[in-house]
Symmetry: C2
Subunit: 309 residues, 2 copies
């Protein structure tokens, strides 16, 4: 049996990938900083991955052939400049080295559209210059640049997905889409920016499918992960108002746009499509599922409960 170790497994993205990896035939091992509930068949582990000793211990115990590394420091709000990301940069490279020492063969990790130079126009190709303008983006770029070369030295296959704008069930509620949905559920106004910025919106279940594809496959290098469904933020927010029958609560222009928000974060998708991926969820469909998730009974003791208010 092929074993995969997933870090950040209880996070927004990680939880959606676990069942897909099980379905793909992997023996799935999940590791997080504190104990968590997982789908049937997933082996849960607790370790502080910022500690090299604990990294080595879990890797020696599991001896995974594959790793999907999603753990990072991403609380809504302050993460763009948080020094914790430097700790995760260091830990990520150490993890790759320890993974190799424990016999690991294929390492897949999550990058970000924040690695690109936001002063240029968007629609980035993977071969475009890196030019992060945030500490978060610099740390992601650093892991990518170094992991790619480490892969050559260590004979580990490295695949890196630059993730654009994921949303969906389980997204922390300080972020845009959950905060709008929650406001409308409460009958409060959703105070938004003008929302003129264009983003590529990727439903998290589609993102999970790409990640499972990358883990199972043989692609090495960097690939953009996005849907091709691009829209202005105001259009998405208005669609939430429409679907929730409270368009009156959407207040566009009520708060200023952050200075470093680039006008356009969109991806060239040639490489992703060449890997055989097509998204299943349009923005309308993805929003409908997300709204449904937030409005469903929150007291069922599901593994998601801790993500809800």
């Amino acid at each position: 049996v092929t074993r995969v170790l997933v870090t950040g497994a209880s996070g927004f993205i990680g939880r959606h990938v676990l069942p897909l990896l099980s379905a793909a035939g992997f023996s799935v091992h999940a590791v997080t900083g504190r104990s968590s509930e997982y789908p049937p068949g997933v082996h849960g582990h607790v370790a502080d991955l910022l500690s090299s000793e604990q990294q080595r211990a879990i890797l020696e115990e599991v001896r995974p052939s594959h790793m999907l590394h999603l753990a990072w420091h991403v609380p809504p709000g302050g993460f763009w400049t948080a020094m914790e990301n430097v700790a995760w940069l260091r830990a990520s490279l150490q993890l790759l080295e320890n993974f190799s020492s424990a016999g690991g063969k294929r390492w897949v990790a999550a990058g970000s559209c924040a690695e690109y130079d936001w002063t240029t126009g968007g629609d980035w190709k993977e071969s475009d210059a890196l030019g992060p303008s945030t500490l978060y983006g610099a740390c992601k770029s650093s892991v990518e640049l170094t992991a790619m070369e480490m892969g050559r030295t260590l004979s580990v296959e490295v695949a890196w997905g630059r993730i654009f704008y994921p949303y969906g069930p389980g997204e922390p509620d300080g972020r845009l889409i959950p905060s709008v949905i929650c406001a409308l559920l409460d009958g409060r106004p959703a105070r938004c920016t003008e929302g003129l910025q264009v983003r590529d919106f990727l439903f998290v279940e589609d993102l999970a499918r790409v990640l499972a594809l990358l883990v199972s496959g043989t692609f090495t290098g960097t690939v953009n992960i996005a849907s091709g469904f691009t829209a202005r933020v105001r259009e998405v927010v208005s669609e939430i108002g429409r679907q929730m029958h409270r368009p009156d609560l959407i207040e566009l222009g009520a708060i200023p746009t952050r200075a470093f928000e680039p006008p356009r974060l969109t991806a060239n998708l040639e490489r992703l499509r060449s890997l055989g991926f097509q998204p299943k969820f349009s923005i309308e469909q993805g929003l409908a599922r997300t709204i449904e998730w937030w409005t469903s009974d929150r007291s069922t003791g599901s593994p998601w409960a801790d993500h809800k208010r």
Copy 2:
């Protein structure tokens, strides 16, 4: 008194910088992995900088306002792909964070022309895209990208010099110029490649002047460090043969050019010149001083003795 802590202080480059920093009025503290001799007035310290605890201890002891970070893993030969550079990447970022925590204000560190995309033509500007093709270059790029953003978060001034091809007294003898000089001193043939590749040759005393200027000054960001004296490797090697009166021992084309040797590693120098730097040593003058150093009495107990055979 303003205190500067210099890492890698006993190395090829570090030793040349120490007296210049003393002359500039700094209280100079040198730290290396094992004890070393230093010029008068320089305070020597021993610490393993790969240990965060030892970093913190030395920083608490010295409490430097300035740091010049030169320590790295650069033995001749294997350093391009050595995993030790990943350890130095991690340690360098931790050092900047610990430096800030100990009250540090200005951090200057050594980058490399290996950060540029060697498949493009040379004459690189600082704003050109990074595109390292070696693990060594990826690690340097990663420290640069991340340190620049950390500087903003921590309110530490960060200056980064991308160093091209330094040579001169104290260069480890496995590298090109010392190996040719040593061969000729021994009356052995110097077996070289065709030497068609163009490099910017920077005499180490000029390099030391740039680094002292960066430490003393207020420039933040990235600057190329090179001389503007560009030549084919075969011309430099032939000049050594001429100056040492043994042109007959220079064997061009005797060994193959390494596959990853780019044809041209040269720098745009506008930014460096705008900082007020002009090199003092032509290639002929720099080689003359280097040859003189290798031919002088090696038994004087100078702090350089350990760099000679």
